[in-house]
């Protein structure tokens, strides 16, 4: 058999990724060819249309698995073994695309800044210079944020579906690079924003280095990039354990960095605070989903047979993440930093669910697994946190968003609606019943406890109690403290940000009261293929 064999690509199955990538490329062309005045509208419409098209095709691909039946199909390995499009991957796709759609709405918000987006008018202009002043008086805005975001989304879609280590690495880079840029594009407090971007970039590049080194070691052990082959090598115990364990540890560093788990969390507060809030919302929600999807696949599929070796490490990381995240959040005085530390704590809770790995033989059919617990938690947390950051953008004074908690005092008097909604979202994050935060917590804790990780669950409930304290503290501040000086003011946002808040809050309520349908679905489709 000679000659060139064209790779076989299942175009329809991977169409969501292709659509998003295509829209991103098209967005770059628009920047070049469409007049400046019309770029905003064209970019926003294109991005939204692309995402909706991707959602539609994802749903079509998903429905081929027959998820409604009691024994849905597993899915398929496509693109010459590079991508595994199975239940968890497709669920992550749908979730990511919905989150991206919400994020586009936040990105496109113009009313809050008085007619321009919240991104820097001209990122190349140095802060405090004449050029910057000019850019701002001319009302320039960077519509490149939309294609950048679409590139990030395409990377995120690939990340949890990657079925070999190289694809996973490429996806990691594709999702990270645009995010580094986006972080540095804040219109106000630009130095803080650029510092955040720099930090995120340097640390991110460093962690990618770890990840690649890990890939090299694992490749040396298994002799293949594919997860299926690695899994075979691991269960066959061929080769040297040192290579494998070293590789697992280094790859874990790369992924845990993206998740924001302790001890690789130190970037989170600075970046969350410095980045434009819309980007923070996008990052906090989507990156977590993508990275946890990838983490689950890598460890469950490739290294699953070896779990007794790496589970102790993950136990420690999960415990550290929850404890450090909740304890450090206690002393925060800035609402974005507070949410950042809370996201670290939540990463710990999700990791708790990740510990619920059991072999399929141990799990009775249709019951809760680590995968379904984690995916459910990701859904609830991502939507809640999206709405919470969206709310942060509407509390402002003349200098832009007021993120200092001291300035949030008495918000309940100024705007009972905003304060009430934010309080509800905080209660959800604290895990009060009848909110999605509770059902999510229940799902991950139950998954972990089923797999015998009860010591971690006990730490988790104690950490939740600590976390409840700082959430309640913010509620007290909003409702029962007298405003300082002028007090906070709430700018009413356009329908874009408004609908993100409404959707996120509604999802928080609905998934808290009637989570049955979603959790049953996840119980059926939460099975990896290899």
């Amino acid at each position: 058999m000679n000659g060139f064999q064209a790779p076989k690509i299942e175009y329809f199955t991977v169409s969501p990724i292709l659509i998003v990538l295509g829209v991103a490329v098209l967005g770059v062309l628009i920047e070049a060819f469409v007049p400046r005045a019309r770029r905003y509208v064209v970019q926003v419409v294109l991005a939204m249309a692309g995402l909706i098209a991707a959602i539609v095709t994802s749903v079509m691909v998903f429905s081929r698995l027959n998820p409604g039946s009691d024994s849905p199909k597993g899915g398929s390995i496509v693109a010459e073994g590079a991508l595994a499009v199975d239940g968890p991957a497709l669920f992550c796709w749908l979730l990511l695309l919905v989150l991206a759609l919400l994020a586009v709405m936040l990105f496109a918000e113009r009313r809050l800044e008085g007619g321009v987006t919240s991104f820097a008018g001209q990122a190349a202009a140095l802060p405090g210079t004449e050029a910057e002043r000019q850019a701002s008086t001319q009302g320039l805005e960077h519509t490149e944020v939309f294609p950048l975001m679409m590139f990030a989304v395409s990377g995120m879609l690939m990340f949890p579906a990657a079925n070999d280590m190289l694809t996973m690495f490429v996806a990691l880079e594709v999702l990270s690079l645009p995010l580094y840029l986006l972080c540095g594009l804040a219109r106000r407090r630009r130095l803080l924003s650029q510092e955040a971007a720099m930090k995120y970039f340097l640390l991110g590049a460093f962690s990618s280095g770890f990840f690649v080194y890990g890939i090299a070691l694992v490749y040396g052990y298994a002799g293949s990039m594919g997860f299926a082959q690695i899994a075979e090598a691991v269960s066959g115990q061929t080769g040297s354990d040192g290579l494998l364990l070293g590789g697992i540890a280094l790859m874990a560093v790369g992924l845990l960095f993206k998740i924001g788990a302790v001890p690789f969390h130190s970037w989170t507060p600075d970046v969350y605070q410095g980045a434009p809030t819309a980007v923070t919302a996008f990052m906090a929600a989507s990156t977590k989903v993508a990275a946890f999807g990838a983490l689950l696949r890598l460890f469950y599929v490739a290294f699953g047979a070896n779990r007794n070796e790496w589970l102790p490490m993950m136990w420690i990381v999960a415990i550290l993440t929850m404890v450090v995240g909740s304890v450090l959040a206690l002393t925060q005085t800035d609402v974005k930093r507070l949410l950042a530390y809370s996201s670290i704590a939540h990463a710990g809770f999700i990791l708790t669910g990740f510990l619920g790995i059991r072999s399929l033989a141990e799990v009775p059919g249709g019951s809760l697994t680590g995968v379904s617990g984690v995916l459910f938690y990701l859904t609830t947390y991502a939507l809640t946190t999206m709405a919470a950051f969206a709310l942060v953008t509407v509390v402002r004074d003349s200098a832009g968003e007021t993120t200092a908690l001291a300035r949030w005092q008495g918000l309940g008097k100024e705007s009972p609606l905003v304060a009430g909604t934010f309080a509800f979202l905080l209660l959800a994050m604290a895990g009060i019943p009848l909110t999605s935060g509770f059902t999510g917590k229940w799902a991950v804790f139950a998954a972990a406890q089923s797999a015998g990780a009860w010591p971690v669950v006990i730490v988790a409930v104690l950490a939740s109690a600590v976390a409840a304290y700082f959430y309640v503290k913010v509620i007290v501040l909003m409702f029962f403290s007298e405003p300082v000086g002028e007090g906070p003011s709430v700018t009413s946002p356009s329908i874009l940000t408004g609908s993100v808040i409404v959707i996120g809050t509604a999802a928080t309520l609905v998934l808290g009261v009637v989570p049955g349908a979603l959790i049953d679905l996840l119980g059926r489709v939460g099975v990896f293929i290899r």
Binding site: P364, G366, S367, L368, S372, L427, A430, G431, I432, P433, L434, F438, T439, K441, W442, A443, F445, A446, Q449, S450, W454, V457, I458, V461, L462, S464, A465, A468, Y469, V472, K473, V476, F479, F480, V514, P515, G516, I519, D520, G523
Partner: protein, 509 residues
Amino acid sequence: MNVPWLTLLLLLPIIGSLVLTIMPARPGSALPKQIAIAFSVLTLALGVALAVGYDAGGGYQFTENTTWIKLFGAHYSLGVDGMGLTLVLLTVILTPVVMVASWNDGDTGRWGAKGFFAWILALEGLSVGVFAATDVFLFYVFFEATLIPVYFLVAGYGGPNRVRAAVKFLLFSLAGGLVMLASVIGLYVESAKTSGGPTYLISELADLDFGTSVGRWMFVGFFIAFAIKAPMFPVHTWLPDTTESATPGTSVLLVSVLDKIGTFGMIRFCLELFPEASRWATPAIVVLAIISILYGAIMAIGSNNIPRLIAYTSVSHFGFIVLGIFVMNSQGLSGANLYMFNHGLSTAALFLITGFMISRRGSALISDYGGVEKVAPVLAGLFLVAGLSSLSLPGLAPFVSELLVIVGAFVYTPWAAAFAVPATVLAAIYILWMYQRTMTGPVREGVIGMRDLNVREVSALAPLLLLIIVLGFFPKPLLDVINPSVEHTMSEVGLSDPQPNVTEAEVAK
């Protein structure tokens, strides 16, 4: 037709609460209060109708059962037995009483009277849910959800330290609840191992055998949460702080209704789900209960602040209830069940009367009063009746229950009874001494010209005092309802009363 009565009973106040929330705020308008009281009276009527229709020997009644979250094994499952029914009744009786008594208390608070009454109605609905839930998951959801209305009631309406107190209350309760969550999840894990799949229905869980160590761990998780809720020594410290800062109405709902969830949960969950672990833990818990009884009484004697004093008397009374539960015989359990209801009445009366007095004088300190009986004889008289019921004077309702508990303790071991009995003397000291210092003696400066109770205040208290007196002489209707459920609990735990070992024939010899 199968009418979901209990769902109606719990939805009615919640709907009322929503109506109040969405109606436009008009300062000074009495309409929200009237709507609120209408909803609570409707709820009361429905509750009484259910009680009349309840068949005393029939086990769980008015049951509803729908699968809620299949994968979790959670059901929306309601039903009341004798214990549940009495506590539901207590809730629906006390809510309108509190509303009448607190008619003006909400006006100056954070969200005005409208918010105050809306939170009270929400609390009523959720409390009914707690007592009627027959699914552990559903119970947990209601259990935690009740914290939110109480938090806002305390933090929005009350004394200068109210925000601190509310946070302390919330954190204690949340911590307990989260510990319980670990046990609740444990129940899922254990039941998922069985062939029937995961379930949270109490009726199905009671048939499972968890194994000794697992059962004991889960028992501890539940017990810690309920001990904080009840509250027992040494996790009682939130209660005096909270009642000191809350309005009297909030304190009534908190102590008389919500704290009962703790003791209710001990019977429903600790005893019925983990009988082996309960027997294992009994000695330690009996000791803790006795410490609570004596410690609460002594602290009450030492208190100069009236709401704090009443809170400490409750710590003592809850000690009695827990003692009655864990001596594990029918006298103790009947007494505990009855005590839950009676303590609700007598403490409510005490909080409300002293609340009226405090709002007149503007001080909660005993040392600021003196000679009230000369200027406000009706207030003083009713105060005395409520106080005497709290110290379990024969002829008033709590006496019957306290006697039953002590008898139960004696059957368990005479030592327990010997340590519990002195508390009755201490109770006489803290009540009568408080009466003496506030009501008798020369009229103090700030007390001169104090108005006596008005018609609204007397009519709020009348039903409570009436019930206290009637049930003191004739507790039979209540015991008829309670006893079958006690027998059920006894059989779940696998206990029978010790038989007398001296027969009639031997005596005749």
